[in-house]
């Protein structure tokens, strides 16, 4: 069942071992409305890639509960609870593990039923990718939109839309294209959060079409199978340099001679000798050593669970945060967040909740509910409260400062859960989108005062003239340009989408003076740090190069060079993704 069995002689075994360990890991989740076929799909995926033991297959073949129209009900492979089998629905998320020659997968098969949205959010919160299913006969339902929205808010970067049960519509291309259009629209609606629907695949989970291998029954679809797609998705590189975030989890103090701060690095890396700032106290010290059971480390990166010994005797405890001196997080009492509400007791502005954020725990109160998403229309009307399964934007105030990053920058230090202090239930999940405190500037100035002479000198050098990089730091992105070419219809939606996503963006065209562009204007906008969208009404191809010559080649995207077969929505997704690549990590965003 595993392709990589080797002989047991030592060196080939070591080879096999290192090969096996090098394989990367993709966590993905299913999403979609009830009965769209999520569990059947996962069962099929596991079965067709031979990741199921024979005794498990046997017990399902023999099971009296086959609700499918095929010889075996694949959903029984993941619907592991008695109530699930009896009711024929998934109630709670099932985690399954499998490996192909390319990579390892952790699958979270989540329930579609609205009542169990909290369990879907559980499974999706750690995913790198989501497969959103729709039933080909039913199309995009409110619950499909709810799940897609939650997946996008949770920061899942890749969303694959799978149109399932194609067997029931005779693998009709026409019907698929119609659904694809609806999905494009959904893609647009969730795109401000940066998620992208990367592909729309026609499948039949029951018959195994386009699941593991490409379908022969769908000749009009030329793309890869679902598994092929999942094997190709790029995994976010956690090792890219970032500022350190080390939440103190536990203090290890076996005797008076040792005092270590245990925790998991959630961003950046650390080396002995590094200067670090402890928050909230803002004391500065150096890392003396990185202690582990396997010996001291010269370097530890994101994801590692380590113990840090510091040079100075700082009185730190659980909930404190160690960060790099350059690259401080937000420190604030008031913030706004996207919230998914998980409990029947509603979120309103009166109650106090216990908030867990990184390893910190504090009390918060909602001060304002800005909006609630209506999953039927995807509009965001004002709302007095958030009820069970609602999604909205909420402003909060904590009883003291907390240190955080925006969720878009760090999934760990920008997320939180809310607990009802009376019932102990986990009632809400939040993703911080904004720092609402201005008052903390003073506190940061204090810290600035404490910075070293060397950094002071560096600051002075900034005074000379404002560099492009400084502007970029302020706006959060590099300047860039997009040549829309024949796709001028994208200008307005693109400008809107990018603007909403926080970009400084402007459309310029040659409609007033046909064929005439002011080169000075372009240069000016570009060096002011803007994203410039050229919408050429008259300009011909050969003048394009002249106009864009002022711009670095990797900062301009020529839409004419992209695949013109795809629809507007998908193209827009691609452009937005490219522009997203111009973002820079900004330590002080959100004020």
């Amino acid at each position: 069942m595993h392709p990589n069995a080797t002989g047991a002689n030592a060196s080939t075994f070591e080879q096999f071992l290192s090969q096996h360990l090098e394989r990367d890991l993709l966590r993905f989740t299913t999403a979609g409305s009830v009965d769209d076929g999520k569990s059947t799909l996962i069962g099929r995926l596991l079965y067709d890639s031979k990741a199921i033991y024979e005794d498990q297959v046997q017990s399902i073949r023999q099971s009296a509960l086959n609700r499918s129209t095929g010889p075996m009900d694949f959903s029984l492979l993941t619907d592991g609870l008695r109530a699930e089998r009896e009711q024929g629905i998934t109630i709670d998320v099932a985690y399954r593990y499998f490996t192909t020659a390319r990579r390892k997968f952790i699958i979270a098969d989540t329930p579609g039923h609205e009542q169990y949205t909290r369990n879907m959010a559980t499974g999706a919160s750690t995913a790198d990718a989501a497969v959103v299913l729709v039933d080909a006969r039913k199309g995009v339902l409110p619950q499909s939109r709810r799940h897609a929205t939650i997946a996008a808010l949770l920061g899942i970067p890749y969303i694959i839309a799978a149109v399932n049960k194609m067997d029931l519509i005779d693998y009709s291309e026409e019907m698929f294209r119609r659904l694809e259009g609806d999905l494009e629209e959904l893609a647009l609606q969730i795109s401000p959060s940066g998620a992208q629907i990367i592909q729309c695949i026609p499948i039949s989970a029951l018959e195994g079409e386009n699941v593991v291998t490409r379908s022969t029954k769908i000749p009009w679809y030329a793309g890869p199978s679902l598994l092929e797609y999942l094997e190709e998705i790029p995994i976010a590189d956690a090792s890219s340099p970032e500022a350190l975030r080390f939440p103190v989890q536990y203090v290890i103090r076996p005797d008076d001679s040792f005092r270590g701060f245990a925790g998991q690095i959630i961003a950046g890396s650390v080396r002995p000798g590094d200067r670090v700032v402890a928050l909230p106290s803002k004391q500065t010290t150096r890392v003396r050593s990185i202690v582990t059971f396997d010996g001291p480390l010269p370097l530890a990166g994101t994801g590692s669970s380590v113990t840090l010994q510091l040079e100075d005797e700082l009185d730190l405890s659980r909930g404190d945060l160690l960060v790099s001196e350059a690259g401080l997080p937000n420190i604030a009492r008031r913030f706004a967040a996207n919230v998914v509400w998980l409990h029947a007791t509603p979120l309103d502005v009166k109650k106090r909740w216990v908030m867990r954020q990184a390893t910190d725990e504090l009390r918060v109160q909602a001060t304002k509910i800005r909006s609630r998403i209506d999953v039927n229309t995807m509009e965001r009307p004002l709302a007095p409260q958030l009820g069970l399964n609602d999604i909205g934007i909420v402003e909060f105030e904590a009883t003291r400062n907390l240190s955080f990053d925006l969720y878009s920058q760090n999934r760990n230090s920008g997320s939180f859960i809310l607990i009802d202090p009376l019932t102990n239930a986990t009632v809400g999940a939040g993703m911080i989108s904004e720092n609402l405190d201005k008052a903390n500037r003073r506190a940061e100035r204090e810290l600035s005062d404490a910075r070293s002479e060397a950094m002071f000198q560096e600051d002075i050098s900034h005074a000379a003239s404002v560099a492009v990089s400084e502007r970029a730091r302020r706006s959060g992105h590099h300047p860039g340009a997009v040549w829309l070419g024949a796709r001028q219809s994208l200008a307005a939606p693109l400008e809107r989408t990018l603007f909403e996503a926080g970009f400084h963006v402007v459309v310029i065209d040659d409609a007033q003076n046909p064929g005439e562009w002011s080169e000075g204007l372009v240069r000016g906008l570009y060096s002011a740090g803007m994203i410039v969208l050229y919408s050429p009404k008259y300009t011909r191809e050969k003048e394009k190069h002249h106009l864009t010559s002022a711009i670095q080649p990797d900062r301009i995207l020529d839409v004419d060079s992209l695949n013109q077969e795809v629809g507007d929505a998908f193209l827009l997704q691609k452009i937005v993704a490219w522009v997203e690549g111009l973002r820079i990590a900004r330590p002080e965003e959100g004020r």
């Binding site: 033991y53 399954r96 340099p241 076996p254 997320s415």
Partner: protein, 322 residues
């Protein structure tokens, strides 16, 4: 030096500079699992008044124990180990337990439901369901209550069985020790809600995301001691109803049965009467791992208790089984 040139716009602290930073190698799959498990151990130690770690002496427990050592190094494991001894464990397991726990300096509590044993509880007399109910589940709940423990860490993995695949890392148990799979706490990101009222407790599974293969690879990589029964050796066995049972301990031969010698090993360790061996020549870790790739059947298949009837694991878990 108090005058800052950008006094008025101090939002602009110097951005984090990436120059001169060493590149950090990405964690391997096993390293990721290890880091996650250590994180869970530390959460448990930080959030509960009286945690305990269930130690069942099997391969998963061996890995669990090593991870606990790592989580609190250079300190000691800040909670005791609890072995729920049914009285029917393989003698080699008990021997291994006592030697190893002493060697690493951990604190061990052994709990037996002596009353039930005195009353003659055996799987032959009661059937496996009932026997397990008394000697494992009841015994465990009693031990937790006696010790006043509010959290019990265990080595269960989601890939073992399909109702386990549904379990949270922090699994809430009500005052009667029962699991309600329809009403589990949401568990987003790596936030574990361990808040409790009196009498309730949490079962914690740091190995949730490990597979059987991960466990073996880790044992190999870390050189973790395991009970010798996992390695193939010629042993005295009797074949009964398709299972290969070791004849040591309390297994009376039935009329007409004959003991024979075969090269066998255990894939999973439980009680002598209810855990079958597999025919195997794998007497080293690489051979065991290689053998795993050929397995077409699940590891719990050799445990009678798990498939008495459809959904039996879930039923036992609801009642409080680990």
């Amino acid at each position: 030096m108090t005058q800052y040139l950008y006094e008025e716009e101090c939002d602009e602290l110097p951005a984090f500079s990436v120059e001169g930073l060493p590149s950090v190698p990405r964690l391997s799959h096993l390293e990721m699992l290890e880091a996650e498990s250590i994180h869970i151990f530390r959460e448990a130690a930080a959030s509960f008044a009286a945690p305990v770690m269930l130690y069942s002496i099997g391969k998963d427990s061996s890995v669990l124990l090593r991870l606990a050592q790592k989580a609190f190094y250079p300190g000691k494991i800040p909670f005791p180990l609890l072995h729920v001894d049914t009285g029917y464990k393989f003698p080699e397991m008990i021997e291994f337990r006592d030697r190893y726990v002493k060697e690493i300096g951990a604190e061990l509590i052994v709990h037996k439901n002596q009353q039930a044993l005195d009353d003659g509880a055996t799987p032959f007399a009661l059937g496996t369901q009932k026997c397990c109910g008394l000697l494992k589940t009841r015994s465990l709940l009693d031990a937790l209550e006696e010790g006043g423990f509010d959290a019990a860490l265990g080595g269960a993995r989601r890939d073992e069985e399909k109702s386990r695949a549904k379990e949270r890392i922090y699994s809430f148990r009500d005052a009667a020790g029962q699991w309600d799979p329809r009403n589990q706490r949401p568990e987003l990101w790596n936030y574990y809600n361990g808040k409790l009222d009196k009498g309730e407790h949490i079962r914690i599974f740091p190995l949730s995301n490990w597979t059987e293969l991960d466990v073996w690879l880790y044992i190999y990589k870390e050189n973790i001691p395991i009970v010798p029964l996992y390695f193939a050796k010629e042993r005295e066995v009797v074949v009964r109803g398709g299972s290969i049972l070791l004849t040591q301990g309390p297994i009376p031969l039935l009329p007409g049965e004959k003991a024979e010698r075969r090269s066998v090993r255990m894939r999973s360790l439980g009680c002598v009467p209810c855990t079958g061996a597999i025919a195997s020549h794998a007497d080293t870790l690489p051979k065991i791992i290689e053998e795993m790739f050929g397995f077409r059947r699940s590891e719990r298949e050799n445990r009678t208790i798990d498939h008495d009837q459809e959904g039996s694991m879930e039923m036992k878990k609801r009642e409080g089984y680990f």
